[in-house]
């Protein structure tokens, strides 16, 4: 048997996490470097995976399958299709930047016991999250997926609750309580979703007698497994609920602003750019493939919710006073687009959605991390506390602007391609929905530019007058991301080529065809 590449990609960060956690308290710098190296190693492995992946090959590649818990019908079953491999790559790609950006976020600020090692913990947790996310992108066994879908909540929870902005770290009890409120909210929301999904998972097993994605899909395809309509719908709802919480879809979104607001910028990136993607990814992989009929049945409702998310998220972003919360609401709007694309049930929509997941990951990372650098300088998250920054820190302002432009999906930057694909994909099947969604691009411009204007332009505020520009470490974080944004905006082919075949598969699973152009249809 060949080298278990997929396992390795997940195991390496896992081991890294343990190793990092084990670094003695005094050697916290070593822990940082260790974490960074591990994440880079993972990136290398992910790159190999990407290289090994053959877009025109079998649907699931690099598969591994071992018995795990026969009594539960559970196998340790891994395999990636185009969508999965793209997201694995994204995750592995972002991690080094997250770690680098959070370099000083977890330096101990008060004297705990000798054994209190926040720094080690911080980076260990990040790596743990990476491992779990990656494996849930690779799992082709529903149970295996579920395990890590749930388990990743715990490290995330500690990351959110345990580490706040340096701004608040001066014994600010209120901030601490807010933070733990956010963490608890995050965990409970997702736990509830997950538990409801657990019921559905069990139900699926009772109905299908197996957890293997392929088996079930095949069985459904050749009719050997028949699901009663109502059963299928209930199970679908069970799954979808969990993913909708994770995604997050209106009205299950309220945990995100708290979480992203209270967490440090790198962790916020971790949440929205990586962990939440598992939700949308799972909709595409599990909801559609396991319950095609139910998915079609639910589509109208979901489209409406997605639309609401888009507009509502954007409007709330406009109304925010807190930079990070603003980005959070912007993300909610973007997740609306992703879900819209998935459930438009067109090739463009779903490819666009997948592309969107990747691009949104990168663009949010860029914007949020720069915002983090900004916040760490001034020690405040309030937009009102800034002004005229571009005069004192032009590079910071410039990168911030580019991040913002990516967020409003300016043509030429990566997000434009995905957003337009989603819109077109939606429009071809649901013109009205498509048009309403298009309003999102205006609102996006609004909240981004307002944010930029209020923070970066105008007369220089006294508090920011001494603000230093981006440091080398910070540039190292931002520059590659921006380069990537531009590259993928100009030349998205590498990703679309990988994603398209997978999407075609999914489309055939749900037995949907793209609508014909009218002119040809007329002929």
């Amino acid at each position: 048997m060949s080298f278990p590449l997929l396992t390795a990609t997940a195991v390496l960060p896992a081991l890294g996490a343990i190793a990092t956690a084990a670094v003695p308290a005094a050697r916290r710098v070593a822990a940082k470097w260790l974490a960074l190296l591990v994440s880079l190693g993972t990136l290398a492995l992910a790159a190999v995976t990407l290289a090994r992946f053959d877009p025109d090959g079998a649907r699931y590649q690099l598969t591994e399958s071992h018995a795990w818990i026969p009594d539960f019908g559970v196998r340790y079953q891994l395999g990636v299709d185009g969508i999965g491999v793209a997201l694995v790559a994204l995750t592995a790609l972002l991690m080094p930047f997250v770690i680098l950006a959070g370099w000083h976020d977890a330096d101990p600020h008060e004297t705990g016991s000798r054994r209190w090692r926040p720094t080690q913990g911080f980076f260990a947790l990040i790596l743990a999250v990476e491992a779990m996310v990656i494996i849930s992108f690779e799992a082709t066994d529903v149970f295996l997926f579920y395990i890590f879908f749930e388990a990743m909540l715990i490290p995330m929870y500690f990351l959110i609750g345990g580490f706040g902005d340096r701004a608040h770290e001066h014994g600010d009890e209120a901030a601490a309580t807010q933070r733990s409120y956010a963490a608890v909210k995050f965990l409970l929301y997702n736990l509830v979703g997950g538990l409801i999904m657990l019921a559905a998972v069990i139900g699926l097993y009772v109905v299908a007698g197996s957890f293997s994605l392929q088996e079930i899909v095949h069985a459904r395809a050749d009719g050997s497994l028949h699901m009663a309509t109502s059963t299928e719908r209930w199970l679908f709802l069970g799954f979808f609920f969990a993913f909708a919480v994770k995604a997050p879809l209106w009205p299950l979104h309220t945990w995100l602003p708290n979480a992203m607001g209270e967490a440090t910028a790198p962790v916020a990136v971790l949440i929205t750019a990586v962990v939440d993607k598992v939700g949308t990814f799972a909709m595409l992989r599990f909801c559609l493939q396991l319950f095609p009929e139910a998915s079609k049945w639910a589509t109208p409702a979901i489209l409406v919710l997605a639309l609401i998310s888009i507009v509502y998220g954007a409007l709330l972003a406009v109304g925010q006073r807190d930079i990070k919360r603003l980005v959070a609401y912007a993300s909610i709007s973007h997740f609306g687009f992703i879900i819209l694309g998935i459930f438009a049930m067109t090739t463009q929509g779903q490819s666009g959605a997948t592309l969107y997941m990747v691009n949104h990951g990168i663009s949010t990372a860029a914007l949020m991390l720069v915002a983090g650098f900004l916040i760490s300088r001034r020690g405040s998250r309030l937009i009102a506390d800034y002004g005229g920054v571009q005069k004192v820190a032009p590079v910071l302002a410039g990168t911030f602007l580019i991040g913002g432009l990516a967020t409003l999906s300016l043509p030429g930057l990566a997000p434009f391609v995905s957003e337009f694909l989603v819109l077109v994909g939606t429009f071809t099947r649901y013109p009205v929905v498509g048009i309403i969604a298009t309003f999102g691009i205006v609102l996006a411009a609004l909240y981004t530019l307002v944010l930029y204007q209020r923070t970066m332009t105008g007369p220089v505020k006294a508090e920011v007058a001494e603000m230093p520009d981006l440091r080398v470490r910070e540039l190292l974080v931002v520059a590659p991301l921006i380069a990537l944004l531009i590259f993928l905006g100009v030349y998205p082919k590498p990703i679309t080529d990988i994603v398209n075949p997978a999407v075609k598969q999914t489309m055939s699973d749900v037995q949907k065809k793209d609508p014909q152009p009218e002119v040809e249809a007329a002929k």
């Binding site: 463009q348 030429g412 391609v417 337009f420 691009i441 204007q453 082919k493 152009p517």
Partner: protein, 637 residues
């Protein structure tokens, strides 16, 4: 030869990249890099032009396909260029005027420490604008379309420390975004209707008619209107005109290049480029003409009331573009003249703005015309060039404006029917008003007694002529303003040049060309005369008089901005604020509420655990009783 097309864009793009990423070490030489690369692009354009002239009118369409950009399902967007006579015209205008304005800026921005970035933005603009006119499909055009929007955003807000500038920039971008919405919807419509949005198959090329006509008229009308919406955004047409006035916050060269000569005319390009669509959708065309006509008057009226020289010119830009849009709306009758007026306007309006810039340069950046006066002695070159531009724009016989504008007025009448009369009338009226407000500007600025006084710091402005780096471009443009129109019209050169692309047809005008010309002349004299009586004879008060109702309305852009402010801005603020409340109390409240109620229930149930063994026993006894009863019941039922 074709492969040079990419070079057109590459040069300024390189410049932008180098200048913006280059860092401080390039501050000294920034302006040179930028100018040289712009000029290089112009040279390439000229070479291509020469090459094109060498070919027969039929195969003057060059194409260059770079690579497949987006390919998903049957959705295909390529990065490829199409250079035909239409694009060529624009390319020459953009690179030519662009280069001149680069040169001008060297002098104008001399003392600005962020000069390097300024030239970077200018180059970025050139690249985007060229992409816009060279793209061979609508999606790529969209990239250029938003690209110029970005550039204009950056340049309007170039002096970001001024809140007014930042706000103006944001406003411009947002209003344009509304237009962009139209463009993207149009593209989606094209995709769903035709399965493609590439010029070649859709609009057809020389000899091969495109499939644009195949769709139902309803669809085409929809597409047309969406394209018009886009055009309105970019070309500051009613109802999306509000941003142009504020855009004058930008440095004057920017106003000249972007907000007079090139970018704002992109809408006209879009309409003319989509001729195939509009020709098949008369309703859409009608709307286009109406928009054009309305804007024509709107801009003109606004232009009459402004005391800020740049804002006055902005109003005139609006109205001139109104002419072009109107012409474009007339269909094959008007396309050529729309473009022709666009080019001549490019010359004289750019010239006028540079003149205004030169004036401000000499007057400590004062923009209020009421504080000018009698400047002709102090800055003769500016005076002459500005004057020529002035004569051109009001359509003084023999100068550029005269030819291009007359053609449009004729075409308007030629539309025929009542529409023809109405449009023609409007166009004529516009000509009169143009004459009025331009004369006003001219007089208030260069004639009469000097009215300037010390500014806040007490610096007495001492007007002086600008350096040659600024005057030379003005002179060049002046030449253009004088001769371009004649050169184009003699033997209908321009018509023959453009016809293969846009097609052309002579409408049957109810009135002869001569009558139109005469009518124009008369109205011109009237307009100019009134202005002279108002401002030439009597002295100009330094503080603006209250003015008539119309004047006040015009000063406030006919309250259109206030409308936006009240309805959109305030309304939006209220909406968002209430939504934030909803999100916090309702959506979140439900969740927290559930949690709280569970907690409350817990608190109440907890009381049962009162510590008394006997009450525990009671619960056990009761439980036992229930258990027994239930078991028996199960059997009973």
């Amino acid at each position: 030869m074709e492969n040079l097309i990419a070079l057109l864009i590459a040069a300024p793009l390189l410049g932008a990249a180098v200048l913006l990423c280059g860092g401080r070490r390039l501050d000294a030489v920034g302006q040179w890099i930028g100018t040289v690369l712009a000029a290089a692009s112009f040279v390439v354009a000229v070479v291509l032009f020469a090459d094109m002239l060498g070919k027969s009118p039929e195969d003057r369409t060059f194409t260059q396909h770079l690579y497949s950009w987006i390919a998903v399902g049957n959705f295909r967007a390529d990065v490829g260029f199409q250079l035909d006579q239409l694009s060529m015209t624009f390319v020459l205008l953009i690179t030519g005027v662009g280069s001149l304005i680069h040169v001008y800026s060297i002098g104008y921005m001399e003392h600005d420490e962020r000069r390097r970035r300024f030239f970077g933005y200018l180059n970025l603009f050139l690249a985007a604008m060229l992409l816009l006119v060279l793209a061979d499909n609508y999606l790529l055009l969209y990239v250029g379309w938003e690209g110029v929007g970005l550039a204009s955003y950056l340049l309007i807000g170039f002096w970001q420390h001024k809140p007014s500038a930042a706000t103006a920039a944001k406003k411009a971008f947002l209003v344009n975004r509304v237009g962009d919405m139209g463009l993207s919807i149009a593209i989606m419509l094209m995709f769903t209707t035709f399965g493609t949005f590439a010029f070649g198959p859709l609009l057809g090329t020389e000899g091969h008619p495109g499939i644009a006509g195949d769709a139902t008229e309803g669809k085409l009308t929809a597409i047309g209107l969406m394209l018009l919406l886009a055009a309105c955004g970019k070309s500051a047409q009613v109802p999306l005109q509000s941003w142009l006035g504020d855009a004058m916050e930008g440095p004057t060269p920017v106003s000249a290049l972007i907000h007079a000569a090139t970018m704002v005319t992109a809408g006209v390009y879009l309409i003319v480029r989509s001729a195939a669509v509009f020709n098949a959708a008369p309703d859409a065309q009608l709307v286009v003409t109406v928009v054009g006509g309305v804007t024509l008057l709107f801009g003109a009226i606004v232009g009459c009331a402004k005391d800020d020289i740049k804002k006055a010119l902005a109003g005139s830009t609006m109205s001139q573009i109104g002419y072009m849009v109107l012409a474009a709306g007339l269909g094959p009758i008007g396309y050529v003249f729309a473009i022709m007026h666009l080019v001549t306007h490019g010359f004289f309006k750019a010239g006028l703005f540079l003149g205004a810039g030169s004036v401000m340069h000499g007057m400590n950046d004062e923009v209020d015309m009421r504080k000018f006066g009698g400047l002709r002695k102090y800055m003769p070159v500016t005076f002459v060039t500005f004057g020529l531009g002035y004569l051109a724009i009001i359509g003084f016989p023999g100068l550029s404006g005269f030819f291009s504008k007359d053609k449009i007025i004729e075409a308007a009448f030629a539309k025929g029917g009542t529409e023809g009369w109405i449009l023609g009338g409007v166009a004529l009226l516009g000509a009169a008003i143009t004459a009025y407000y331009m004369t006003r500007v001219m007089i208030m600025t260069f004639f009469g007694e000097k009215r300037w006084q010390p500014d806040a710091e007490g610096h007495e402005p001492h007007p002086h002529e600008s350096p040659s780096s600024m005057t030379i471009p003005m002179i060049v443009l002046a030449f253009g303003s004088v001769f371009a129109g004649g050169f184009f019209s003699i033997g209908d050169r321009f018509l023959h040049w453009l016809e293969p692309v846009t097609g052309h047809s002579e409408g049957d005008s109810p009135v002869s060309a001569l009558t139109v010309t005469l009518a124009t002349m008369v109205l011109l004299v009237v307009g100019a005369g009134i202005a002279y009586l108002q401002y030439g004879r009597s002295s100009v008060p330094v503080t603006a008089p209250r003015g008539s109702l119309l004047t006040r309305a015009a000063r406030r852009d006919l309250y259109q901005d206030d409308f936006n402010h009240v309805v959109l801005v305030r309304g939006g603020e209220h909406l968002t604020r209430s939504l934030v409340y909803v999100d916090h109390t309702l959506v979140d409240g439900v969740v927290n509420g559930t949690a709280a109620s569970v907690g409350g229930l817990s608190g109440r149930l907890r009381k049962l655990q009162n510590g008394y063994a006997r009450s525990y026993a009671v619960s056990m006894f009761g439980g036992a009783a229930i258990l027994v009863a239930a078991t028996l019941l199960m059997r009973a039922v």
